[in-house]
C-alpha cells in the first residue's frame, strides 16, 4: 500500500499555458498508444499478451453500452469496498480515540497494534473466506481488516502530537478537557487523519478485490480473473481500466473531502469560509 501523495512532483517545472500543456500531454499519449497499436497490428507484439488498444477500447464499449454487464459487477465491488471502508474506519478511529484518551489502554494495546502492523492484512484472506463464506460479507470483512490500520495509527499520532504552545494557550485560557479535545486535538489532527482515510480508501478497494480473486461469484475482481484465465486479454485489460476508474473516482471523492474539511489549508477556501462566518456573526 503506498502512502505518499504525488503532489509536489511538478516542483521546479516551468509553468506553461493550459492549452499548450494539454496538447503536449495528449501528443505523447497518442504517440504511445499509436505505437502500441501499430506494433500489435504489425505482429511485433503478441496479441495474446498485449492486445491492441482498439480491441480493449471496443471491449470497454461493449461492457458499458452493448451488454451492460459491467454495471452490476462495478456496483458489487464498490459496495464491498465502501462498506468495508466504513466499518474499518469506525473501528480504527474509535480505537485511536480510546488510546489517545487513556494511556493505560494505549500501553496494553500497543503490542497488538505492532502485530497488526507487521502482518500484511491480505495474508488473512483465506481465514476470512473460511469464516464468512463466499458471499459479500467476506469481501467486506477483508476490506475492513485491510483498511483499519492507517486511520488508527494516523489518528493516534495526530491526537498525541499537539503543539506545546497551543496546549499552553488552552490551559491558560482555562479550557476544560472536552474543549481541549474538540477545539484543539481534533482540528490539529484532522490533516493527518484525512491522509489516513485516503490510504484506507485504497486499502479497502484492494481488500475487496483480493478477496474476490480468492473466491467470489460477482465483482470486477472475479470478472477480470475469469477473463485472464480464458486468455481473453482484451477483456481483462478492460476490467483493469474499470478498476482504475473506480480507484480514481474514490480518490477524487477523498480529495474533495480534503478540500471541504481542511478549509484552512487552502487560501481561497479559507477566505470563503471566513467571509461566511463573518456574515453569520454580524447578523447575530
Amino acid at each position: 500500500m503506498s502512502d505518499v501523495s504525488s503532489d509536489g512532483i511538478l516542483k521546479g517545472v516551468k509553468e506553461l499555458s493550459l492549452v499548450h500543456k494539454l496538447s503536449m500531454h495528449l501528443g505523447v499519449f497518442v504517440i504511445l498508444i499509436g505505437g502500441w497499436e501499430l506494433g500489435s497490428r504489425l505482429g511485433y507484439v503478441n496479441e495474446l499478451i498485449m492486445p491492441p488498444p482498439t480491441a480493449i477500447g471496443y471491449r470497454l464499449y461493449e461492457m458499458f453500452f452493448i451488454t451492460g454487464s459491467i454495471y452490476w459487477h462495478y456496483f458489487v465491488t464498490m459496495f464491498e469496498a465502501v462498506c468495508g471502508f466504513i466499518i474499518g474506519v469506525s473501528i480504527g478511529l474509535s480505537l485511536a480515540v480510546t488510546s489517545a484518551i487513556s494511556p493505560v489502554f494505549r500501553r496494553y494495546w500497543a503490542p497488538y497494534a505492532v502485530v497488526f502492523n507487521v502482518t500484511p492484512g491480505i495474508a488473512v484472506t483465506p481465514f476470512i473466506i473460511a469464516w464468512f463464506g463466499f458471499g459479500w460479507s467476506s469481501k467486506i470483512a477483508l476490506a475492513a481488516l485491510v483498511c483499519f490500520f492507517p486511520p488508527f495509527i494516523n489518528t493516534l499520532t495526530g491526537l498525541l502530537y499537539i503543539d506545546k504552545d497551543a496546549t499552553e494557550l488552552f490551559r491558560s485560557l482555562g479550557a476544560n478537557r472536552k474543549q481541549y479535545f474538540w477545539k484543539l486535538q481534533i482540528p490539529s489532527a484532522l490533516p493527518i487523519i484525512i491522509a489516513g482515510l485516503k490510504l484506507a480508501m485504497t486499502g479497502a478497494l484492494i481488500g475487496a478485490i483480493v478477496a474476490e480473486f480468492f473466491s467470489a461469484s460477482e465483482g470486477v475482481g472475479i470478472l477480470m480473473q475469469r477473463f485472464a484465465f480464458r486468455l481473453n486479454m482484451d477483456g481483462s485489460f478492460a476490467a483493469l481500466i474499470v478498476m482504475s476508474l473506480m480507484g480514481l473516482s474514490l480518490f477524487t471523492l477523498m480529495e474533495y473531502m480534503d478540500v471541504k474539511v481542511l478549509f484552512w489549508r487552502r487560501h481561497s477556501r479559507m477566505e470563503e469560509v471566513s467571509k461566511k462566518r463573518k456574515a453569520k456573526w454580524s447578523i447575530n
Binding site: W109, N154, I192, K198
Partner: protein, 292 residues
C-alpha cells in the same frame, strides 16, 4: 494541495512505549494479560462457546506450530519460496522505482510527462493486475516476483522524487558559492537530504512486496506461504493455518526490525550517539592524514 509527505506514520508504532516501572515489569504485565486472554479463549472453546473448527484453541495452534516446524518441517520450504519471491520482487521494484525517480528529478521534461501516468498508477489498485501477470508469466515463481515488484515500486519512487526535490534553496546557494559540480551537488547534497524519505519508502516497499507475493500465490501457485495457508483453510485445518499466519507475522516483524536497524545505521546523523562516534572517527582519520 496539501503536501503531506509523511502521511503513513506506521513507523511511529512505538507510540505506547512509555514503559513505566522499567522494561522488566512492563514485560511481565504484558505477558500476564496475554496469558489471561489466551486462557479465556481456550476455556471459551472448551466449554463450547466458540466453534473450534473456525477459531481453533490456542493449545491446538501451538501443537500445529510444533508440527509444521519440527515433526513435518514442511513450512521451511514454503517460507523460503515466499521469502525469495518477495525479496527479488522488492529488489527489482526498488531499482525501477529509484531509477525512474532519479531520471524524473534530473530531467524536468521527463517529470512533466510522467505526472499524469503517476496519478493513474497511484489511483489504480496495483495488486489488481495479478491475474494478468499470472497469465503473462505463468504459474511459477516469475509471476510472483513480477507482482511483488509492481506492487512495491511506487513507494520508493514517489518518496525518492519528493526527497530529492525537497532540498532547500539555501543549501543549493551554499554549494553553488563553494563551486560544487553537478555531480557533487547530486551525491553530497541531494542524496543525503533525500535519504530519510527514501528509507521510509523502502520500508513500505518491503512490506508491500511481501503482500504482493502472497496475493499472487493466492491466485495460483504450487509452493509458498500463501498457497500453504489457502490449502489449510480450504481443508478446514485451521490450527495449521493459524500457525502459518503467525509465521508470516514473525517474518514481517523481523523484516521491520531489520529495516529499522538499517535506518538507524544509515541515517547516523539523526542519533546523537552514533553521530558522535562517527565524527570522532572522522576527526581521528583527519589528524592521521595531517601527521603523515
Amino acid at each position: 494541495m496539501s503536501t503531506e509527505l509523511d502521511t503513513d506514520v506506521s513507523h511511529n508504532i512505538e507510540i505506547g512505549g512509555d514503559f513505566k516501572g522499567g522494561l522488566g515489569g512492563a514485560m511481565i504485565r504484558h505477558l500476564i494479560i496475554l496469558l489471561v486472554l489466551l486462557f479465556v479463549w481456550e476455556m471459551a472453546n472448551r466449554t463450547g462457546m466458540g466453534d473450534p473448527l473456525l477459531l481453533p484453541r490456542p493449545t491446538d495452534i501451538v501443537l500445529s506450530i510444533w508440527k509444521i516446524y519440527v515433526t513435518q518441517g514442511n513450512v521451511w520450504y514454503h517460507l523460503w519460496v515466499t521469502f525469495k519471491e518477495a525479496m527479488l520482487g522488492c529488489l527489482i521494484g526498488c531499482i525501477i522505482g529509484i531509477g525512474l525517480a532519479t531520471a524524473a528529478v534530473l530531467s524536468d521534461v521527463f517529470r512533466q510527462f510522467l505526472k499524469p501516468y503517476i496519478i493513474i498508477v497511484e489511483a489504480t489498485p496495483r495488486i489488481a493486475i495479478g491475474p494478468i501477470l499470472v497469465t503473462w508469466f505463468g504459474f511459477g515463481m516469475s509471476s510472483k516476483v513480477a507482482l511483488a515488484a509492481l506492487v512495491c515500486f511506487f513507494a520508493p519512487f514517489v518518496n525518492t522524487i519528493t526527497g530529492l526535490l525537497g532540498v532547500e534553496e539555501e543549501s543549493y546557494e551554499l554549494f553553488r558559492s563553494l563551486g560544487a559540480t553537478r555531480k557533487q551537488v547530486f551525491w553530497r547534497l541531494m542524496i543525503p537530504t533525500a535519504l530519510p524519505t527514501m528509507n521510509a519508502g523502502l520500508k513500505l516497499a518491503v512490506g508491500s512486496a511481501f503482500g504482493g507475493a502472497l496475493v499472487a500465490e493466492f491466485i495460483s501457485a504450487q509452493a509458498g506461504m500463501g498457497i500453504l495457508m489457502a490449502r489449510y483453510t480450504m481443508s478446514l485445518n485451521m490450527p495449521s493455518a493459524f500457525a502459518g499466519l503467525l509465521s508470516i507475522t514473525l517474518y514481517g516483524f523481523i523484516l521491520f526490525r531489520i529495516m529499522e536497524f538499517i535506518d538507524y545505521k544509515v541515517l547516523y546523523w539523526r542519533t546523537d550517539e552514533l553521530m558522535e562516534k562517527k565524527s570522532l572517527k572522522r576527526s581521528l582519520a583527519w589528524k592521521k592524514e595531517m601527521q603523515s
